[in-house]
């Protein structure tokens, strides 16, 4: 890619974003929109910098919940996918459950979990995040471990390879890209689940609960400032997952994913 192309790829979305914000600002000024209806971007940005330390604190709480849940869900998902790929009959039991749970907004379960722990506990939220992540990782990694090319299996059998050797040298490397795909999907999902699970009671210390409480108090611009914080947090998680994937695939030397 030439540098001109790279500038163009970056500049066009950037100019579009600036133009969009300018229109927004202009519309608020021109139509004299009331702040409780729609806050102007300049006001939101002002609120964002005024409340920067509070937004940072709230983001750390939600971010920590998302991170703990992401790590725990990934670890359990990977462990379970190994067990499932070893014992196929379990697969037929668990996979429909995983699909069913993925089809409903399971974060409402946090309301039930909240009743099981003390009101100030972060544990229900973290459990919720890890559940969402767990199923994404489980389904993807199990696919990577089981959907191995027949030719590869026949070659390994012709070398008299044991099941353990086939697992180590074929199934696990085959599942690595699936794991990173799962992480790329579940990183933003973890952040969203972390916010949403704050809507169901518990401590009012995260970004999700701050957004709702500011809206309840008609502090519209402040609510938007927290939304901006939430966007940045979600973006940070996504970028980290993409960087991790690039580092891992460079390590494996497999920069080409199109010939799979």
């Amino acid at each position: 890619m030439t540098s001109v192309n790279r500038i163009r790829n970056f500049a066009i979305p950037f100019l579009f974003g600036v133009g969009f914000l300018a229109c927004w600002e202009g519309a608020v000024k021109f139509f004299h929109l009331k702040p409780y209806f729609l806050a102007a971007p300049s006001k939101i940005l002002g609120q964002f910098f005024n409340n920067a330390s509070r937004i940072w604190d709230a983001a750390s709480v939600s971010g920590m919940n998302a991170l703990v849940g992401l790590v725990a869900g990934t670890v359990f998902g990977v462990i379970m996918s190994f067990i499932l790929s070893r014992f196929r009959f379990l697969n037929s039991l668990i996979t429909p459950l995983a699909i069913a749970l993925n089809a409903v907004p399971i974060f409402v379960l946090v309301a039930v979990l909240n009743n099981m722990y003390s009101i100030t506990s972060e544990i229900p939220r973290r459990i919720m995040v890890s559940l969402v992540v767990y199923f994404i990782v489980l389904v993807n990694v199990a696919k990577g471990l089981t959907q191995v090319k027949t030719t590869h299996l026949e070659i390994m059998r012709s070398y008299a390879a044991s099941d353990v050797e086939i697992l180590r040298k074929v199934r696990v490397p085959n599942a690595v890209p699936y794991l990173f795909t799962a992480l790329k999907i579940s990183a933003p999902a973890a952040v969203i689940t972390s916010f949403v699970s704050e809507y169901f009671g518990g401590s009012q210390n995260g970004l999700g609960s701050r957004i709702t409480s500011n809206i309840a108090n008609s502090k519209n611009a402040a609510a938007w400032a927290y939304v901006l914080g939430a966007c940045l947090l979600g973006l940070a998680f996504y970028i980290v997952s993409v960087v991790l994937e690039n580092v891992a695939s460079r390590g494996a030397g497999a920069t080409n994913t199109t010939n799979k």
């Binding site: 590869h152 070659i155 059998r157 040298k169 799979k260």
Partner: protein, 270 residues
């Protein structure tokens, strides 16, 4: 001592169910050391099944398969053969050299010995400077040459190939046939080669085993006499064409109008 001995072998899939398939019925075949034998026939004739029985990737329903005077199972455990398929089947996450080293890794060779052998094999298939590339950086023909290098890395006496050049274009295919003959002559490897190309079978083989489907069985064995060394001139030689004609007639069986073709099987084949 024969390299491969198949005696009275049948293979029936899904026996006793409505989906029963008689893949092979009463197959007898002996391959001598150093021989190049092709299995040819229409799809469903059981040629790939026969190859997998020799490789012990499948167990025969009845009969016996012996490889290097051992049971097929023992030969597989001893890695007495190498195998190559239509898809090169290289591992995307391993470099070219690491792909070739895989069978040696499984045999427990140490690192330096593996690297030396991989380089030796790369020189054999004339790709010595490709060791550190990844498989997807290679063309289809190159990938297939690496697959052959991998199959031969442990210097097995027997090479089993299942339509290895089936996915290659005609030019590459003819080049690969020449390379395979050179490699097998250099390494004195016995080859059992599945194909559905008549010229390919004739060009490569000492003997062409003709098979027919429903149920899969051997209907004819054609001896090919193209001499010890074959070259591009062989493809224009008189006895190359007469070999092709013999195999074609054997494949056509009773459908052929030729006087003597098909006399072998009589009326039972529609």
């Amino acid at each position: 001592m024969s390299a491969v001995h198949v005696a009275g072998v049948s293979k029936i899939f899904n026996q006793g169910t409505p989906k029963q398939v008689d893949a092979l019925v009463d197959v007898n075949l002996t391959v001598e050391p150093g021989e190049f034998v092709s299995l040819i026939g229409p799809s469903g004739c059981g040629k790939s099944t026969l190859l997998r029985l020799i490789a012990n990737l499948l167990e025969p329903t009845t009969g016996e398969v012996t490889v290097n005077s051992k049971t097929a199972a023992q030969s597989r455990l001893d890695q007495d053969y190498g195998m190559a398929f239509q898809q090169a089947g290289l591992f995307d996450w391993r470099s070219v050299a690491k792909n070739i080293e895989l069978p040696l890794e499984l045999k427990g060779w140490d690192k330096e010995k593996r690297a030396a052998r991989a380089q030796e094999m790369l020189e054999l298939v004339k790709l010595p400077e490709f060791a550190d590339l990844m498989p997807w950086q290679l063309s289809g023909g190159m990938q297939q040459r690496i697959a052959i290098a991998r199959a031969l890395a442990a210097h097995p006496p027997l090479l089993l190939m299942d339509e290895p050049f089936g996915a290659l274009d005609e030019m590459t295919r003819e080049y690969m046939q020449g390379e395979l003959l050179r490699i097998c002559a250099e390494t004195k490897t016995t080859v059992v080669f599945v194909t559905h190309s008549i010229p390919e079978a004739v060009y490569l083989s000492n003997r062409v085993v003709v098979m027919s489907p429903r149920p899969g069985r051997i209907t004819d064995v054609i001896n090919v006499n193209l001499g010890e060394t074959r070259s591009e001139d062989t493809r224009a030689a008189e006895n190359f064409f007469s070999g092709i004609t013999s195999v074609r007639e054997a494949l056509r069986g009773t459908h052929a109008d030729h006087a003597n073709a098909g006399a072998i099987r009589g009326v039972e084949d529609r």
